[in-house]
Subunit: 242 residues, 2 copies
Amino acid sequence: MANPTAAMLVIGDEILSGRTHDTNTHHLAQELTSHGIDLAEARLVPDRIDVIADAVRALSAAYDHVFTSGGIGPTHDDITADAIAVAFDVPLDVRDDARALMQAHYDSSGMELNAARLRMARIPEGATLIDNPVSIAPGFTLQNVHVMAGVPAVFQAMVASIMPTLTGGAQILSQSLRVLRGEGDIAGPLAEVAAAHPDVSIGSYPFTRDGVFGSNIVVRSTDGAAVDGVITTLARLFHVRQ
Amino acid sequence: MANPTAAMLVIGDEILSGRTHDTNTHHLAQELTSHGIDLAEARLVPDRIDVIADAVRALSAAYDHVFTSGGIGPTHDDITADAIAVAFDVPLDVRDDARALMQAHYDSSGMELNAARLRMARIPEGATLIDNPVSIAPGFTLQNVHVMAGVPAVFQAMVASIMPTLTGGAQILSQSLRVLRGEGDIAGPLAEVAAAHPDVSIGSYPFTRDGVFGSNIVVRSTDGAAVDGVITTLARLFHVRQ
């Protein structure tokens, strides 16, 4: 059976302008791979409700899960909850359980739960909360869309909160072989091995070090024995001692 | 007049699996911003001809420019040129000028221009070549789609080759203000300033350092005087010495 599929939606003008470097996609990719969920696509969109809502609808229909990052803070440019409510045509309002979490947190910190902070307790109708052990204001899951913060420490904590609740598939196993020959030298025989083993995925990634051309060959499959077999074949073919 | 728009299309299973961290989008975002072209969207897709071709068609129709990264090497998993040919329904074959560039390079390096390397001289009909001073095998531009390598050093060299050929718009100017107060404290007054200045874009990005909550406020516009004015207003409002 094929693994569940997922898409990542990164939201934020600051990433499109080059001010901030998105690291959440890479983190999610690694977590999903180790959980047996295939990340099939990622998109990066600006802080615009219509654009976010369109992307959410398209990705939600195409994949088993959608993960979003960014735009759920207290400021005027945090509009992801609004966009999700538009995407699924549901009301958006401050919810008692989210408000209670935040009230307790701000009371204990001696800070005021003002109108801006209360924006973070607005949850689209029908959603379940995602725990945020770092800064309390929760994320939420509506249908198959998991809405999380953009700050990497908070994003990672939210991913850790929800990952155990998701049904994973077979874990993709991978092994790699480092060959000190350029891709152009090994590409012919490599293509023959790939054609003979359609059950595994074989990727080749070039590198240069100290003026030497080399290739990292990565073999991936849910079948560990198949990966072993192909790696052994390639090691013999390219005279690499394992 | 609005600035030209662009999209980035990152191609590669190795990025979706979390093996490799894409840095090309961030580099392109910075280059485009300084050139007055707005990066409006980025997508990350797997090594599948149909998926790449669909994305290329959609992005090419929606934006002034599309930049792609990855999948133009000599190995069997390098299928971007094939996907571009499918997307625009044009023939794909080895082209004499691309072959000549590579023949001269491999002759001088004492390497063979074998069948695998010759794959890199396959150029969709009607495309113009993009210079690759790092490793010679060229990228290409077909219609409004610029096809470049995934290896960051080569991607960056190709971006440098084509950027001067693109018509830029007004450069977006930005200034930032570092406020040692959490976003929840400043969000209310900040929203009022944002509403009063629709000609500038104001973003807020939280940070914590040594247990102190702070916010970086970024003001962006093509109008430098407007940015100055808003930064001065915000500095007074939040008692920040500039």
